[in-house]
C-alpha cells in the first residue's frame, strides 16, 4: 500500500491509526518513500534510519493491536537534527571530526518523544556544530530550500526546516542558539519554536554555547509544534538547568481568545536593514493581529542594536570551551600524521573542523584570553543583562512582542559566504530573545515575490509544496512571550495561523 503523507498533520496520524485506515508501518513506509524522493533534491538528511524506524513502527502497531494506552505521538514520523543524540545511530554534527561517531545514549527530549510514540526516521543536516545561518557550513554539503532549490534553507537547523517543508516528516527537532530554529522556519515557510531556556532538557544535545542552547520543535502547523513541545518538556535530572516548572497541556489550550491582548511592536526592529518587501508582509501580519482583536502598541527596546555584538562574544567564548573536547583521543576522528600528543591535538582539529568553526573557536579563545576577558567577555555579559531588561520592562506593558523573524527572505546559495559579519547580521532579530532566554516562535506570514520564481519555482511545485510557495519566498513573523508563557504564545500563533492561512501546504 502506498499513499501520500507529505501534507499530513499529527491529527491525521491519530485519525488513521484509530480508524485502522493505515498502520504505523504503512505511515512509516510512505514517509521513507517521500524521503528517498526528496532527499536527493534538497540534501536535508545526513542519515536515513530506515530499519530502525520500521522496527519501531512495528512495535507501535503491536501495542495498538494489544490495546495498550496510546501515547500522544503514536506513529508520528520525527526527524532529529544531527546534533541531538539517538542511541546506536551516527551523530555527525555535520562535521568531519565526528563523521563516524555513534551515539552511546539518547537525548532526553528524543527519549520522551519516543515514549510518546514518535518514530525517528532520520537525522537532519545542519551547519557544522550548529554554527551558521544558511546551512552552507556542512561537511555533508549544503541543504537546498524546497521553495527554491537555488536558495539556502536558513540555518543552522536548515535540514530540519527543509525536510518538514518538503513533507519528509510531520515534525522535526532543531536546536536554537541565536535563531537556528526560527530563522530556517521563516525561510522554509514552516513553524519553529525556541522554548524558554530550561523548558526542554539539553541532555544529549551536543553543546555549542551552553547558556544559549535550546532544543526546539518544527512543524507545518502550530498545533503539531505544541504537541511535540508538551511531550518533551520538563525537569530532567541529567540537566541541572532544566526547570521544575509544571508542563501544561499546550495542545488543548490553543483556542484561548486573542481579543484584547496587547502586542508590542519594537521600533528598533523596523529600522535600517529590514527589506521593504519583508516589512510590508509583517505590517500586513500586524493588521491581521488587530483584526483578531489585539491592540498593537509601539515600544522601544533601546539595546537591540548591541545584540549581535554581544551574542558573538558570548556564544564564541562558550563554543571555544565546549569544542576543546574534540582532540582525537576519546572519540571522533584522529589525525594520522602526528608524532607527539600535542601534534595529534592540533592536526586532528585542523583536519576535522571546517572554516567557520575554526573562526569561532579563534574568536572565542581571543575574547577569553589573558588581558581581554574583562574588555570583551565580561562586557558582553553586562550588555546581555541590559538586553534582558529591555524585555522585562517591555513585558510590564505588553503581553507579547512581534517582529520580523529575519530581515530578508531566503538568500541565494553562496550570496553571503564571503563575509562572516554580513552572515551574522541575518540573525539580528532572533538573537535578542536567545540572550534573554524567553520563548519565541516563527510563524508563516505569507510570501514575497521570488525574482527567480519562474526559473526555480517549478522544482517546488514538483515537490508538492503549496502553489503559494512555488511563486514566492516565505516570510516568518516572530512572536516573543515572557519566560514560561508558551501556552499563551502558542495560542496566539495558532489563532494567527488560522486567520491568515499562510502555512505552507494548508
Amino acid at each position: 500500500m502506498s499513499f501520500d503523507v507529505s501534507r499530513w498533520t499529527i491529527a491525521d496520524v491519530r485519525q488513521a491509526l484509530s480508524t485502522r485506515s493505515a498502520s504505523a508501518r504503512e505511515i512509516c513506509a510512505a514517509t521513507l518513500t517521500r524521503i528517498r524522493d526528496e532527499n536527493e533534491k534538497n540534501n536535508s538528511l545526513i542519515t536515513v534510519m530506515k530499519d530502525r524506524a520500521m522496527e519501531q513502527a512495528g512495535t507501535i502497531d503491536r501495542q495498538i493491536a494489544a490495546g495498550d494506552p496510546a501515547g500522544p505521538l503514536m506513529g508520528v514520523p520525527l526527524i532529529v537534527k544531527d546534533v541531538i543524540q539517538v542511541q546506536g545511530v551516527r551523530n555527525t554534527c555535520a562535521s568531519r571530526i565526528l563523521g563516524n561517531f555513534i551515539s552511546p545514549y539518547t537525548a532526553t527530549a528524543v527519549e520522551r518523544l519516543e515514549q510518546a510514540g514518535a518514530v525517528v526516521v532520520g537525522k537532519a543536516n545542519c551547519d557544522e556544530f550548529a554554527m551558521g545561518s544558511s546551512n552552507e557550513n556542512s561537511a555533508f554539503g549544503a541543504v537546498r530550500n524546497p521553495c527554491d532549490l537555488e536558495r539556502v534553507p536558513g540555518g543552522s537547523s536548515g535540514g530540519s526546516a527543509a525536510a518538514v517543508a518538503a513533507g519528509m516528516s510531520i515534525v522535526a527537532l532543531g536546536s536554537d542558539t541565536g535563531g537556528s530554529v526560527r530563522q530556517p522556519a521563516s525561510f522554509c515557510g514552516v513553524v519553529g519554536l525556541m522554548p524558554t531556556y530550561g523548558r526542554v532538557s539539553r541532555f544529549g544535545l551536543v553543546a555549542f554555547a551552553s547558556s544559549l542552547d535550546h532544543i526546539g520543535p518544527m512543524g507545518r502547523s502550530v498545533r503539531d509544534v505544541a504537541a511535540v513541545l508538551g511531550a518533551m518538556s520538563g525537569r530532567d535530572l541529567h540537566d541541572s538547568t532544566s526547570a521544575g516548572v509544571p508542563v501544561p497541556d499546550y495542545e488543548t489550550q490553543l483556542d484561548a481568545p486573542a481579543q484584547g491582548l496587547r502586542v508590542g511592536i519594537p521600533k528598533e526592529y523596523f529600522a535600517e536593514g529590514l527589506t521593504s518587501e519583508v516589512r510590508s508582509r509583517i505590517e500586513a501580519g500586524l493588521g491581521l493581529l488587530r483584526e483578531m482583536g489585539c491592540e498593537t502598541v509601539e515600544i522601544s527596546m533601546p539595546h537591540t542594536e548591541y545584540a549581535v555584538a554581544c551574542y558573538y562574544i558570548i556564544a564564541t567564548a562558550e563554543a571555544s570551551a565546549n569544542l576543546a573536547r574534540y582532540d582525537g583521543v576519546r572519540y571522533g576522528s584522529r589525525s594520522a600524521h602526528s608524532e607527539t600528543l600535542a601534534e595529534l591535538y592540533r592536526n586532528t582539529r585542523r583536519e576535522g573542523f571546517g572554516d567557520e568553526v575554526k573562526r569561532r573557536i579563534m574568536l572565542g579563545t581571543y575574547v577569553l584570553s589573558a588581558g581581554y576577558y574583562d574588555a570583551y567577555y565580561r562586557k558582553a555579559q553586562k550588555v546581555r543583562s541590559l538586553i534582558a531588561s529591555d524585555f522585562s520592562s517591555a513585558f510590564e506593558k505588553v503581553d507579547f512582542i512581534v517582529t520580523p523573524t529575519s530581515p530578508t527572505p531566503a538568500f541565494r546559495i553562496g550570496e553571503k559566504t564571503d563575509n562572516p559579519l554580513h552572515m551574522y547580521l541575518s540573525d539580528i532579530y532572533t538573537i535578542t530573545g536567545s540572550l534573554a532566554g524567553i520563548p519565541g516562535i516563527s510563524v508563516p506570514c505569507g510570501t514575497v515575490p521570488n525574482p527567480a520564481g519562474a526559473a526555480n519555482g517549478a522544482s517546488a511545485a514538483a515537490s508538492g509544496a503549496a502553489s503559494g510557495a512555488a511563486s514566492g519566498l516565505p516570510v516568518g513573523m516572530q512572536i516573543f512571550a515572557p519566560h514560561f508563557e508558551e501556552t499563551r504564545l502558542l495560542a496566539l500563533a495558532h489563532q494567527f495561523e488560522k486567520a491568515g492561512g499562510f502555512t505552507v501546504g494548508q
Binding site: S211, A309, L344, T365, Q381
Partner: protein
C-alpha cells in the same frame, strides 16, 4: 589592524589549532573586522550593571542538587566504542613522557 598575524598564531596555539599561512592571513582579517564591529559595546556605560552568566528563574536554593548516591555510569565498552585507538580498556595516545 588591531589583530596581527602574530596574535592569530598565539591564539591558534592556545586553541590547539594548526593553521597554514593562508588561514593565518584570512583569520587575521576576519577577526579584525569582527572585533572592529563588537567595540560598539563600549558605547554603553555598564559600570553599574551586573553581568548575566545564565538565564535565571525562581527555584528553590537546593534545586540543582541531587542525592549523593551511586548511579550507573556509561558502561566501559560503550565509552570506548568511539575511541580512535584503544587497548587494554584504555584510550591510546602518543607517548608523552620521554625516558
Amino acid at each position: 589592524m588591531k589583530i596581527t598575524e602574530k596574535d592569530v598564531r598565539y591564539i591558534a596555539a592556545l586553541a590547539n589549532l594548526e593553521l597554514d599561512p593562508d588561514e593565518v592571513r584570512r583569520y587575521a582579517a576576519d577577526l579584525d573586522s569582527i572585533l572592529d564591529y563588537v567595540v560598539k559595546l563600549n558605547q554603553l556605560d555598564t559600570s553599574d550593571v551586573e553581568p548575566m552568566a545564565q538565564v535565571l528563574y525562581d527555584a528553590p536554593a537546593d534545586f540543582a542538587l541531587r542525592d549523593d548516591a551511586a548511579r550507573p555510569g556509561l558502561p566501559e565498552e560503550l565509552a570506548l566504542r568511539n575511541a580512535p585507538e584503544s587497548a587494554a580498556r584504555y584510550f591510546k595516545v602518543a607517548k608523552v613522557i620521554e625516558r
